[in-house]
């Protein structure tokens, strides 16, 4: 057996691009019968690659981009998203969702939830949700809020159940509001909506049900994030986007995905997930990822736990009895 290294995740970028392009054309014309694709552009690598693939498949006139910033978004997200649209030559509009979120009392609900553990939290503070670290040996996932006061003081508190659920429930308004707008534009254009998860996000349930998890096609859901970067280079994605660290861009404090959800940075997570999926021994994965074998095994256990916990996110509504006349899956060749 050949040695397992980071190169084991390499793909034939041209061949993979052709395969996805062909699938998108078939899905749009045969399965969905829609005339184009709507894509929410975040300025991140996944939405950018998805948009670039859509343009290759359908043509730039059949791809519609939407920027959807809100009060807590990084300013860079909109400017990079616009840059992507300009480089691809697609139509792109901005729908600032702050007003919708205010109407939903999102900001108030979010602040109220944090005040359950930090009573002084309020105007002028910024915050983010973080998880315990696998690499520190922690076996249960714990959730904490990190908040910075206007005077710069940073507080970290483990969340109570009510506070955690309240924060997550409120924050999910963002993804669901964005998806509602994507479908508004898809409906008026007779387009479908593209989801942008990579394999790591799709497998591990890193999405909001009926939020960013909702879509008609998910063209890169089978690709490890490392492979998405390979495609990005092949597709000529601007270098600022390829070099931007992955961010959730969901909380008012800067937050990496590995702080919020994944146990490790995506390069190491990809190696662990690929190794697990291909039955590669833990010590070989550890050597490739720069970890020890015990940590790899803990990451594998965490992968299994997340698969179990988030399985319901992938499910269609459960019926008591199958309705034979209704098929919910197209023929996937």
């Amino acid at each position: 057996m050949s040695t397992f290294t980071r190169d084991s995740l390499n793909i034939d970028a041209a061949g993979e691009t052709a395969r996805i392009v062909q699938a998108l054309r078939r899905q749009l014309s045969q399965d969905l019968k829609r005339r184009g694709l709507v894509i929410g552009l975040s300025g991140g690598i996944d939405s950018t690659v998805t948009a670039a693939l859509a343009v290759r498949a359908l043509g730039k006139d059949k791809v519609f981009g939407i920027l959807m910033p809100e009060r807590h978004s990084e300013a860079e997200s909109s400017s990079l998203g616009q840059k992507v649209a300009d480089s691809l030559g697609i139509t792109c509009i901005e729908e600032n969702i702050t007003g919708i979120l205010e109407s939903l009392r999102f900001y108030q609900r979010y602040d109220d939830a944090i005040r359950e553990v930090i009573p002084t939290f309020g105007r002028g503070w910024i915050s983010k949700l973080v998880i315990g670290s696998i690499s520190s040996g922690q076996q249960y996932t714990t959730f904490s809020i990190v908040a910075q006061a206007p005077n710069g003081t940073i507080i970290r508190e483990r969340l109570s159940l009510n506070a955690y659920l309240g924060i997550v429930a409120a924050t999910n308004f963002k993804q669901r509001t964005r998806k509602m707008l994507e479908y508004y534009h898809a409906d008026r254009l007779n387009y479908a909506v593209a989801g942008t998860p990579n394999r790591l996000e799709y497998d591990q349930g890193f999405f909001v049900k009926n939020g960013d998890g909702s879509a008609d096609v998910k063209p890169i859901a089978h690709l490890y994030k490392t492979q998405v970067y390979v495609l990005a280079a092949h597709l000529g994605v601007p270098v600022e986007i390829r070099e931007r660290p992955p961010t959730t861009d969901t909380y008012s404090m800067p937050q990496g995905q590995d702080e919020f959800y994944f146990a490790l940075p995506h390069g190491q997570m990809d190696l662990c997930l690929y190794g697990k999926n291909h039955n590669i021994p833990a010590d070989a994965v550890a050597a490739a990822a720069g970890l020890d074998a015990a940590t790899v095994k803990r990451v594998w256990e965490d992968i299994d736990r997340k698969r179990t916990t988030t399985r319901y996110l992938h499910l269609s509504p459960l019926l008591v009895e199958k309705v034979n006349e209704v098929s919910t899956t197209p023929n996937i060749s």
Binding site: Q139, Y140, T142, L161, T309
Partner: protein
């Protein structure tokens, strides 16, 4: 000790199993049986902290302390909780 186990068992059955015992044993792993996930651990910790008036520190959030009825009972005993 048996009172603690009964109380913990009742909480687990009511909270995670909708009242259906399904032969839950005192040594059964909650994680291995798949009915206590990350949110469930937070619920369990909140319940133990409230019921037994203790504060469970981050470093104590380990399966060996919390992953079965027996483990919880032993942990609470080490924390000085009396039956």
């Amino acid at each position: 000790m048996s009172d603690i186990k009964t109380s913990v068992r009742n909480f687990i059955v009511e909270t995670f199993l909708f009242g259906q015992d399904d032969g839950l044993t005192e040594e059964a792993s909650f994680l291995a049986n798949g009915f206590v996930d990350s949110t469930g651990v937070i619920e369990l910790v909140a319940h133990l902290e409230k019921t037994y008036q203790i504060k469970i520190k981050d470093e104590d959030l380990l399966p060996q302390n919390l992953d079965s009825i027996n483990a919880i009972a032993a942990y609470l005993q080490r924390r000085g909780v009396s039956a």
